[in-house]
């Protein structure tokens, strides 16, 4: 089936819907999502969205910018960080105007709370910067933006999975190919501009806070088309995931005063981050937890530690952390008011992704050459505002700020440009891939390959990495890829073929894993979320630069791109 729109937005999370909201009633825009929009993973974000509103205490966007840069271990592009922290303020007000039900101060203003790595006056002390709606800020953002889409009569294509990107021979993006999951039909979406906002790929790891749907689809599709992926080695492990399940317990737990304790009951963050303690950035806390565990100070010598909320007033837990308490009760059978919660670091957020400029335009090289008509925003994109490690709440800021900018820019682009003609049979690649999977019959089981992939990625590309482990992982990945080439889809039907969907996703996971491992192996230093035991120091001389990974017929080629530094020279990062 053929559709023609001015703009196509792939992904209906915060970034995609914020972009869609910019079109309001202008232009013909469609949102394509492989889920229903309200199922998007933005809805799982808990803690808050930072903006220097200064509603409770003095705060300035430049402090926010500094924290973002420092939190990202100076790999942040500072022009982008400036945009992020300046526009966060407007974006938060815009969300409020759209109806987002923020918690309020007694005067009726948006309430704010402390969050990891957010400080006053360049690191003096924690500051109240995170605007929040209980511990379901992401849920409220997603609902509010979806509601705006309904108000603006946005056209939603629900349960349609992007399977290919369309580009002209001149390198202009002119559409996508979608697979309608409900009917198995292939849809051609012809557009002047395409926004990729499909989110992260946490499912390459075994223990993750990410949804089952987060398999890096668009990253992989662009990668296959020869477009680069930036800084893929930087993946954030969130310190407080529920042990074994990886379900996230928001940093807001610590923002409200929660403490992490080791097997001896010690508040061990005193040793690693004497100023910010438990509110140090996530990469540091996760690494500290692992170091405690390695030193045998896990709970009963095992591989987890405790999150302690028992000293918090019960009404804080009830009113400000209700969902988290519910998770702890449901999945652990524990009462957070009286019992300690077993936690473990959980794969949480991809700092890397599709390189873009501050307008959301996808770029392909170190000179930031743009692909006309192609945009990316949200977790899937790498602007790069998060550098080597993202600060808590900045993911939501990223979504709304850069989703908004991309939307506005697309609106201009679409007014000034015409549709580029499609090649004949634009869907041939997608059809060939799907037909290939559907017609193969073998005993090779995709889900077993996926389990092995996730297990190996967790062990060798997790919090700690070594050259040896990463090389071992590379050969494992090529073995898995070889097995994947023989995988057949067991469900041969057309209607809602979830087996086909998962098998396609496995292919994407493999591509993304390749890029993560290639980046991790190349970067011979430790910075932010990337820690090489064989290179434990940050190396600004050789590595103060972004990596770009390109998929070529001969394997992955690595390139690089300078970091934009405007206001803050790199310094040692202590908290």
């Amino acid at each position: 089936m053929y559709h023609r729109f001015d703009a196509i937005i792939v992904g209906a999370g915060g970034a995609g819907l914020m972009a869609a909201a910019q079109f309001a009633s202008e232009g013909d825009v469609a949102v394509v999502s492989k889920l229903y929009p309200t199922r998007s993973h933005t809805g799982a974000a808990q803690g808050g969205i930072s903006a220097a509103l200064g509603n409770l205490e003095e705060d300035h966007w430049i402090w926010h910018m500094f924290d973002t840069v420092k939190g990202g271990d100076y790999l942040v592009d500072q022009d982008a960080a400036e945009v992020l922290s300046r526009e966060a303020i407007d974006a938060v007000y815009e969300l409020e105007h759209m109806g987002l039900p923020f918690n309020r101060t007694p005067e009726g203003k948006i309430d704010q709370r402390r969050f990891g790595g957010h400080t006053r006056n360049y690191g003096e002390a924690a500051v109240r910067r995170a605007c929040y709606a209980a511990d379901r800020t992401g849920h409220m953002i997603l609902q509010t933006l979806y509601q705006q889409g309904i108000k603006n009569q946005v056209r939603y294509f629900n349960e349609v999975m992007m399977v290919d990107l369309l580009m002209t021979d001149d390198g202009v993006c002119n559409g996508i190919i979608g697979l309608d999951i409900q009917t198995g039909e292939i849809h051609i979406f012809h557009a002047k501009a395409v926004l990729i906002a499909t989110g992260g790929f946490g499912r390459v790891f075994k223990v993750t806070s990410n949804a089952l749907a987060l398999t890096g689809d668009a990253c992989s599709i662009l990668f296959r088309r020869g477009l680069p992926l930036e800084d893929m080695e930087f993946f954030q492990f969130h310190p407080t995931g529920i042990n074994k399940l990886g379900i996230l317990l928001s940093e807001a737990c610590r923002g409200e005063g929660g403490i992490i304790r080791n097997g001896k009951g010690e508040r061990f963050m005193e040793r690693y981050a004497p100023t910010l303690l438990d509110l140090a950035p996530r990469d540091m806390v996760s690494r500290s937890i692992h170091q405690e565990i390695r030193a045998g100070r896990g709970i009963d010598g095992q591989d987890y530690v405790h999150l302690d909320l028992t000293h918090l007033p019960p009404e804080v837990i009830d009113q400000k952390l209700p969902d988290i308490s519910d998770f702890v009760r449901t999945y652990m059978g524990l009462d957070p008011k009286t019992e300690l919660i077993p936690i473990q670091a959980t794969a949480h957020y991809a700092m890397g992704g599709i390189p873009t400029d501050v307008e959301g335009r996808v770029t392909i090289d170190q000179d930031n050459t743009v692909v006309p008509g192609l945009y990316a925003a949200g977790e899937v994109a790498c602007v790069s505002v998060h550098g080597a490690n993202r600060l808590g709440t900045n993911s939501l800021v990223d979504l709304v700020v850069f989703g908004r900018r991309a939307g506005k820019h697309m609106l201009d682009f679409m007014r000034q440009n015409e549709h580029q003609a499609l090649a004949p049979e634009p869907d041939y690649r997608a059809r060939a891939e799907i037909d290939g999977l559907m017609s193969t019959d073998s005993d090779e089981n995709g889900s077993i390959i996926r389990e092995e992939l996730q297990e190996n990625m967790m062990n060798d590309a997790g919090v700690f990495r070594t050259a040896e482990g990463l090389q071992r992982l590379q050969s494992k990945l090529s073995e898995l890829r070889d097995r994947y080439s023989r995988v057949g889809v067991r469900d041969k039907g057309k209607t809602f073929n979830m087996d086909l969907m998962e098998t396609l996703e496995l292919g994407y996971l493999l591509d993304v894993s390749d890029a993560v491992v290639a980046g991790a192996l190349a970067r011979e230093e430790s910075r932010g979320g990337h820690f090489r035991e064989d290179f434990p120091e940050r190396d600004d001389v050789n590595w103060l630069r972004h990596t770009l990974a390109y998929k070529t017929s001969g394997g992955i080629e690595m390139g690089s791109k300078p970091v934009v530094i405007t206001r803050f020279e790199p310094k040692e990062r202590t908290y």
């Binding site: 309200t38 109806g99 089952l212 209607t495």
Partner: protein, 232 residues
Amino acid sequence: MEVQFRIERFNPDQDTRPWFGEYTLEVEPTDRVLDALNEIKWKQDGTLTFRRSCAHGVCGSDAMRINGRNRLACKELIRDYGDKITIEPMLGYRVIKDLVVDMEDFFDSYRTLQPYLVNDENPGAGRERLQSPEDREVFDDTTKCIMCGACTTACPITWTNKDFLGPAAIVNAHRFIYDSRDKGANERLEVLNSKSGVWRCRTIFNCTEACPRGIEVTRAIEQVKRTLLTGE
């Protein structure tokens, strides 16, 4: 522990009527029902089909009937069910395949009630509309809705009366009607006052019982009825 699963299966490409598939599985008591469904799909029968995404009760994909009641598969632990578990799709909507039902009518009802803030006054850039914590608290409960459909498809009225807008749509209207910033209450109340609105509710409480987010759904509906009655 070993658990027997009976799962309702239906593939429109080949079946004329639904049937039950039986699966035996070795699981941990603390596993979620969703984990078991995944395990069956991945290791035993690749054709088993259901929706799922976040796997911890916030996205609303995997609402289904577990031992006869609407639940999210990712929020239910196997130890609470014992060694025999029956899983069926939600009632009242067309089954697309196995446990997947057609949610279009559900979202249609939702859209009927203007589920967005109606207020065109510009509070001015660079500032928020003020709202007291008390005013914010009034509609807090109904902001929790994740639109999984558990309440609407638990309601005996929606099973048979296709005009009824259903609990979820009313919950989402409630979220705006009682928001002090909103100005669209009258229009929503007019629809809710109609034949397909709140008066169809017979205070059965199935919706409240089924809500995985703990929303007091019936309370919200009753509040709307009282507002219609007293004009307050």
